[in-house]
């Protein structure tokens, strides 16, 4: 049966995913040196690779979707996504581990899960099976990493003030993501 996406639309989304996964793994890699908590440092290193691998999966999928120059479609969905990543990567100080983790595990990764799940459920099971296989691999990592991140956050947030800090940063990022319309822009999870 036909899916919701034709080849061009699938390639456009995959290009947006690759761009977003790249920005995420670069940010996670950069933050490793800036967090003092040893357990967080180790998890960021592992998760950095998970997202690099997702970017590689999407990089390899693009030529199969008739995009022979993968760099051409490796683009942010829109300017708001660029701004989202800038604000996500803003915290650097050693005292800002909570903000770093909130941005990734309470905002960015839940949006990846939503985007990938929508794509998984609405593309053709037969014609787009290779994308579905990659989405399944990526989704498994996203769920595992989200759980790790939430565990780390709950262990770090110990006071009402820290709850407020986490919530404020989450709200700031969510508003930008709302403007972006999701990782693949408006229509990321339908309704555009």
């Amino acid at each position: 049966m036909p899916g919701l996406f034709d080849v061009e639309e699938s390639a456009r989304r995959v290009g947006n995913y690759k761009w977003a996964e790249m920005k995420l793994f670069e940010t996670l890699g950069g933050w490793v040196a800036t967090v003092p908590e040893l357990d967080v440092k180790m998890r960021l290193g592992a998760h950095c690779y998970h997202h690099a691998w997702h970017a590689e999966l999407w990089h390899k999928r693009l030529p199969e979707l008739r995009e022979m120059n993968p760099d051409r479609l490796t683009q942010p969905a829109n300017d708001a996504m660029v701004r989202f990543v800038e604000v996500l990567a803003e915290p650097e100080a050693a005292e800002h581990t909570i903000e770093k983790l909130v941005g990734v595990y309470r905002v960015f990764i839940p949006h990846f899960i939503a985007a990938y799940t929508f794509h998984r459920n609405n593309t053709s099971e037969i014609t787009d099976a290779p994308t579905i296989r990659s989405l399944d691999f990526a989704l498994r990592d996203e769920f595992d990493d989200w759980r790790d991140g939430e565990m780390m956050l709950q262990s770090l947030i110990e006071t009402p003030e820290e709850v407020d800090r986490a919530a404020a940063h989450q709200a700031r990022l969510e508003k930008i993501m709302l403007e972006a319309g999701g990782i693949a822009g408006p229509g990321t999870i339908g309704g555009a």
Binding site: E26, V32, T34, P36, L38, K41, R43, A89
Partner: protein, 291 residues
């Protein structure tokens, strides 16, 4: 977040005490000249037969642990610090190919596991995090603004040293009858060979059409190699605590000539240390006490 993170700002919890190479070299317990030099004259390959074997092995294991943290941080920073090549400026030296970033992310994951393994091995050997000072020299080598220098200094020189260290520790575990140490070191050694090979391959590929840049990178690697041959701490002689793992280095992309050069530099450093120590013992009249 800034590009290029300074070594002085590496984030650590309160258990850690950081020192630089200069401070490490000034440590009287490991100095190669001065009053304590004579006591080091008998320093030789790390084996269970050495009277100070337990403490020396714990010290080395802690050194591996903090080295793994810095290797993790360095690989992560290389994912972040450099942009992808711009087709309008193909000769730029501050960009890295996408596939190189992927390799660095893979290395970050490997080093994360090594940190975790090292924490557990440290506990197993009876030491605690922060029991020994952390020399931040590895991350210093990962601070270069030229990614090729990082490959040469970190992946080739320092990860190459890690091959030597893991081989020595694996042998130590084997002789001491410690299957946990032997097992873990062997797995980490496999990863390190991969990391050095990544460095060797990328160094050649990125500098394929830029012999001058390649020569500079190899010169930097040589400087780092010399730094870690200081005092003959690593050589093919049994008088050095750490051996030179020739076979694994060749698997990792070192040519025979390159390994020979490191062997020569290391041996020369060892001979220099012996000469200093002999002179110190002679002037202190301690030679007979050391036998």
């Amino acid at each position: 977040m800034r590009k290029f993170f300074p070594v002085e700002e590496l984030a650590r919890d309160s258990r850690f005490t950081q020192i630089n190479m200069r401070q490490a070299e000034a440590d009287p317990r490991t100095a190669i000249v001065g009053p304590s030099a004579a006591k080091r004259a008998k320093v030789n390959r790390l084996t269970p037969a050495r009277p100070d074997a337990s403490e020396a092995a714990r010290n080395l294991m802690h050194g591996i642990f903090v080295g793994e943290i810095q290797a993790l941080e360095g690989a992560g920073r290389t994912c972040h610090d450099f942009e992808l090549p711009d087709s309008k400026d193909p000769k730029a030296t501050d960009t890295v190919p996408f596939a190189l970033k992927l390799d660095m992310a893979r290395q970050a994951w490997d080093e994360s596991r090594h940190v975790e393994i090292s924490v557990k091995l440290g506990e197993w050997m009876g030491s605690e995090i922060g029991q020994f000072a952390e020399n931040t020299v590895l991350f210093e080598a990962a601070c270069s603004t030229d990614p090729v220098m990082r490959l040469a200094g970190v992946n080739r020189a320092l990860e190459g040293l890690a091959i030597d260290v893991f081989t020595t520790m694996k042998e130590f575990g084997e002789i001491a009858g410690d299957p946990y140490l032997e097992f873990c070191e062997d797995w980490m050694l496999a990863d390190e060979v991969t990391h050095v090979k990544m460095g060797s391959d990328w160094l050649r590929k990125v500098t394929e059409n830029d012999p001058e840049r390649r020569a500079k990178a190899l010169e930097f690697q040589s400087i780092v190699d010399r730094l870690f041959s200081f005092g003959g701490a690593r050589s093919e002689s049994d008088d050095s605590p750490i051996g030179l793992a020739r076979r694994f280095r060749e698997l990792a992309g070192f040519t025979t000539d390159e390994v020979d050069e490191i062997a020569d530099v290391s041996l020369a450093a060892l001979e220099a240390r012996k000469a200093f120590s002999a002179a110190a013992m002679s002037s202190n009249g301690t030679a007979s006490d050391e036998s």
